[in-house]
């Protein structure tokens, strides 16, 4: 039942003194849009706490885009932390949007960000707190239309029963079209089913209820989806891809939080997409093609954003900022702009080559904290398997340049359990770290006062949909633990610090990345067992997940570890980023042979299929060919 739109802040306010960090629930931040007159009301929900959700770029983009439409208002919603959620339930206060403090269940459209798989129980929690029926099929005519979108839609089947519609790809235009479609359909008094049929005609929109899941000899146990007869729903829904990226609003983040948030700075998205082709990377495959903003637009946007927000740091964000063809030009200009103001310019990660170090030096000024690189694998053989396109010489040169430029602490990211990995590859992680340490000591000196240290962080590989490794199983728990011990046992120097991710969290992530629609039974059972905030180390409980799995008859370890035949139909084939399965199979085979594939922004087209399928192309403002 649709709740009445009314300001319920007076019911929330008495709870603020009883919870941690009440500033999560206040609204009225600088830059928030207070006029929410509608008459069509949308709320964008980030299924985690305020400080995690507020900096989300996608949500900011959609908030700005929808609020610019005449007659539409868009608010924000976040999941309350467990203390507040429990109090709200006890006091019978439904989940509220921030700007108007109206119940989430009073909105016309509720949009969820699918940021990562581990947020799935938080979506259940949010719907339940909102008093919106959790399953889309249980919603009544007047209930809000609940949609989802974001980076983790590429196997949305296990969460799809909660959504009336799922948007694939870029949302700037598509989300406005979705809202317009719902508004027009409501104005015509269409039935809920007819609204969903209309949504399925919007390009890039997947309506799960219009598809049946078929399990047969051509599929895995999770089956594949086919459109229901007479719905006219497309057999494959292809993503939306915005060709005119540089004509979009370059400063969508205008809301300035009161509290510390996870990325407490102005962010300017300098480019979208990455064509380097790392074979484990879902974002690299699903955000193609590569589209850059011109240098002058980035600099002007940073200037405008800093003046609007008052931030003292601007971050140039993207999947690979130092790949921008005008990266050096942008950083030079920005540094000139902010000189003497105490404003810092930052980039989220460094490329593993001398250009990456040059750019790090450019943004760091005289400040030399730690420098982070991601070789991902220890041996050259395995780096070729994953198409990292980084050589040992690149690593050595980058490290030497970094130490010569004043850095003393080096952090290296690796993954464990990559396809074809052997014990030699694990030992090679330590050897790489040791080599970097030795380079540091040879440059800076060996004494304890030199301050040279290397830390390595090792994640467990999770196979993701629409990557060349989507057919691979995950390393089983016992073997992960053995290799973690091997890593610790072969560490050659106490100056190398090793940390690794919780293998049990990665196991659940792998399961959620792999299962089909039936996986929702597991998610719902896990939530009923008390799972929420699973991405938070102190809240995650593997025991609750295994209890839930036992209840629904699933073997988590077997699911995660299962390989999938290359010719099997996959549960996510009907929701496509337009990267062809043929390209992914070819990349899988090249991985097995240890053959690398160059990126298409420096070399010729690699035939991933995105550009011809979607009628788009790379939009590079300068020249990348001179830089490798």
């Amino acid at each position: 039942m649709r709740l009445r739109r009314e300001d319920l802040y007076p019911r929330l306010e008495p709870l603020l003194g009883q919870v941690a960090k009440p500033s999560r629930y206040l609204d009225h931040e600088w830059g928030a849009i207070e006029e929410q007159d509608g008459p069509f009301h949308v709320v964008l929900m980030y299924p985690d706490v305020y400080e995690v959700g507020l900096p989300n770029m996608g949500l900011s983009i959609l908030y700005t885009a929808i609020n610019r439409v005449e007659g539409m208002s868009c608010e924000r919603g976040y999941l309350p932390w467990v203390d507040m959620a429990d109090l709200m339930r006890a006091k019978e206060v439904p989940l509220l949007a921030l700007e108007s403090s109206s119940p989430i269940a009073s909105f016309d459209v509720v949009g969820f960000t699918l940021a990562h798989e581990m947020a799935c129980t938080n979506i259940v929690e949010a719907l339940d707190l909102s008093r919106i029926p959790i399953r889309a099929e249980e919603r009544a005519q007047d209930d809000p239309i609940v949609v989802a979108g974001g980076p983790s839609v590429w196997n949305c089947e296990p969460v799809s029963p909660m959504f009336d519609a799922v948007l694939l790809g870029d949302g700037e235009e598509a989300m406005v079209e979705i809202c317009s479609c719902v508004r027009d359909a409501r104005a015509r008094d269409l039935s809920r089913r007819d609204i969903l049929l209309a949504l399925s005609r919007v390009q890039g929109v997947y309506v799960p209820s219009l598809y049946d899941v078929v399990v047969d000899e051509t599929s895995t146990q999770w089956g594949y989806a086919v459109p229901k007869p007479k719905t006219g729903a497309p057999a494959v829904v292809y993503k939306r891809s915005l060709q005119g990226f540089s004509s979009t609003e370059p400063v969508p983040q205008r809301i300035v939080p009161y509290m510390d948030v996870v990325q407490d700075r102005l962010a300017v998205e300098v480019l979208r997409g990455c064509a380097r082709g790392c074979r484990f990377c879902q974002a690299g495959m699903t955000y193609r093609p590569v589209r850059e903003r011109p240098a002058e637009q980035v600099v002007a946007a940073a200037r405008e954003g800093l003046a609007l927000t008052g931030h003292d740091e601007v971050s140039l964000t993207s999947l690979s900022t130092t790949d921008h063809s005008q990266c050096a030009q942008i950083l030079h200009a920005l540094n000139e702009d902010v000189r003497g103001t105490g404003v810092r310019v930052s980039i989220p990660s460094q490329r593993l080559d001398s250009f990456g170090v040059e750019m790090a030096a450019e943004v760091g000024g005289s400040k030399r904290g730690g420098l982070t690189f991601a070789p991902e694998a220890g041996s050259q053989r395995l780096r070729d398997v994953i198409n990292k396109n980084v050589t040992e010489k690149d690593i050595d040169t980058a490290a030497e340049n970094a130490f010569r430029n004043g850095w003393r602490r080096m952090k290296l990211y690796f993954m464990m359990g990559l396809p074809t990995e052997t014990d030699d590859d694990i030992v090679a992680i330590n050897q790489t770290a040791d080599r970097v340490l030795e380079i540091g000591r040879s440059v800076v000196g060996r004494g304890p006062k030199s301050g040279v240290s290397v830390s390595i962080s090792v994640a467990v590989f999770v196979p993701k949909a629409y990557t060349p490794f989507q057919w691979c199983g995950q390393l089983d728990l016992e073997e992960v633990r053995r290799r973690q011990q091997l890593l610790l046992g072969t560490c050659p120097d106490h100056a190398i610090k090793i940390s690794y991710h919780d293998a049990e969290v990665s196991l659940i992530e792998a399961v959620l990345s792999k299962v089909g629609r039936r996986g929702f039974d597991l998610i719902l059972a896990a939530w009923r067992h008390g799972c929420r905030f699973d991405a938070w180390t102190d809240q995650f409980s593997f025991e609750r997940w295994t209890d839930a799995a036992a209840e629904v008859g699933m073997d988590l370890e077997a699911i995660a570890a299962a390989d999938t035949p290359l010719d099997a139909r996959l549960p996510w084939e009907h929701t496509s980023p337009a990267v062809s399965q043929g390209f992914l199979r070819r990349e899988y085979r090249r991985a097995a042979q240890g053959v690398t594939t160059p990126g298409c922004t420096r070399e010729s087209c690699v035939g991933c299929g995105v550009c011809p399928k979607l009628g788009v192309e790379n939009a590079i403002v300068g020249d990348r060919h001179g830089r490798h």
Partner: protein
């Protein structure tokens, strides 16, 4: 090292009210830092490693407490008319923290946090009715002198003989209205919640609290001053100087 001799010290008074009463001290600091950057006021930047705005604040307010008069001192590189600076700052600050007065003060004054050492508080206590019992409990506590309490997991103590200057308790529509005058020092500042929690735990009030439950408070700092050695109270903002 940058030359700071041309810098001026602008003192700004601001409120903390409405929803923003629930901001913590660090959140207020962060918000005002950004407001200053947005305002266009020519702020000075320190020479330290982090290159921060040269800015000092009066003593922290507890989360949930509102205030009619908080202060910060901002070093500026250009001596704008105070009225103009105030307008620029107000236009760039969220309403709940809006500045309402500004004036230049001597750069030789001690740091604001230590210099402003007296405060008046207006506290509404919901859930208690006996003004006499609460007043008597406060008198008992003052008589004892040293108040021991926990701040998180840390044991703390404060000398009420010095920190609690005066109190007045009267019935009001919502329960009781308590007016407190407090004095801070290097040893710490007395928070009304700490004092009243201790009063609620005394025998004089134990039965009332057991019956009605733990009282809830609305706390507002209504004024702050510097107490000179002669005991006179000095307004933080000069009334006859360059003020707005």
């Amino acid at each position: 090292m940058a030359d700071t001799s041309n810098q001026s010290r602008l003192r700004v008074r601001y409120r903390k009210d409405g929803r923003l009463a629930y901001l913590g001290h660090l959140e207020v600091l962060g918000t005002i830092n950004r407001s200053i950057r947005r305002s266009g006021v020519p702020f000075a930047v320190g020479n330290g490693f982090a290159r921060r705005i040269r800015l000092q604040f009066s003593q922290a307010l507890p989360v949930g407490a509102s205030s009619l008069g908080e202060y910060y001192d901002l070093m500026v590189t250009e001596r704008l008319e105070p009225a103009r600076a105030l307008r620029m700052l107000r236009d760039a600050t969220p309403r709940g923290l809006a500045p309402d007065a500004a004036a230049y003060v001597s750069r030789r004054l001690p740091a604001l946090e230590a210099w402003v050492n007296r405060a008046d508080w207006d506290v509404t206590v919901r859930g208690l009715r006996s003004a006499d019992a609460l007043a008597a409990a406060l008198a008992d506590l003052r008589e004892i002198g040293e108040l021991h309490y926990m701040r998180g997991e840390k044991p703390k103590s404060i000398d009420l003989g010095r920190a609690l200057v005066s109190w007045d308790v009267a019935p009001c529509e919502e329960g009781l209205r308590v007016l407190l005058a407090t004095r801070s020092s290097n040893d710490g500042a007395l928070r009304p919640q700490v004092l009243l929690d201790a009063a609620f735990a005394t025998e004089r009030l134990a039965a009332d609290v057991a019956e009605a439950g733990r009282p809830t408070l609305s706390v507002c700092r209504v004024g702050q001053w510097h107490e000179g050695e002669d005991g006179n109270l000095v307004e933080p903002l000069p009334t006859d100087g360059e003020g707005a």
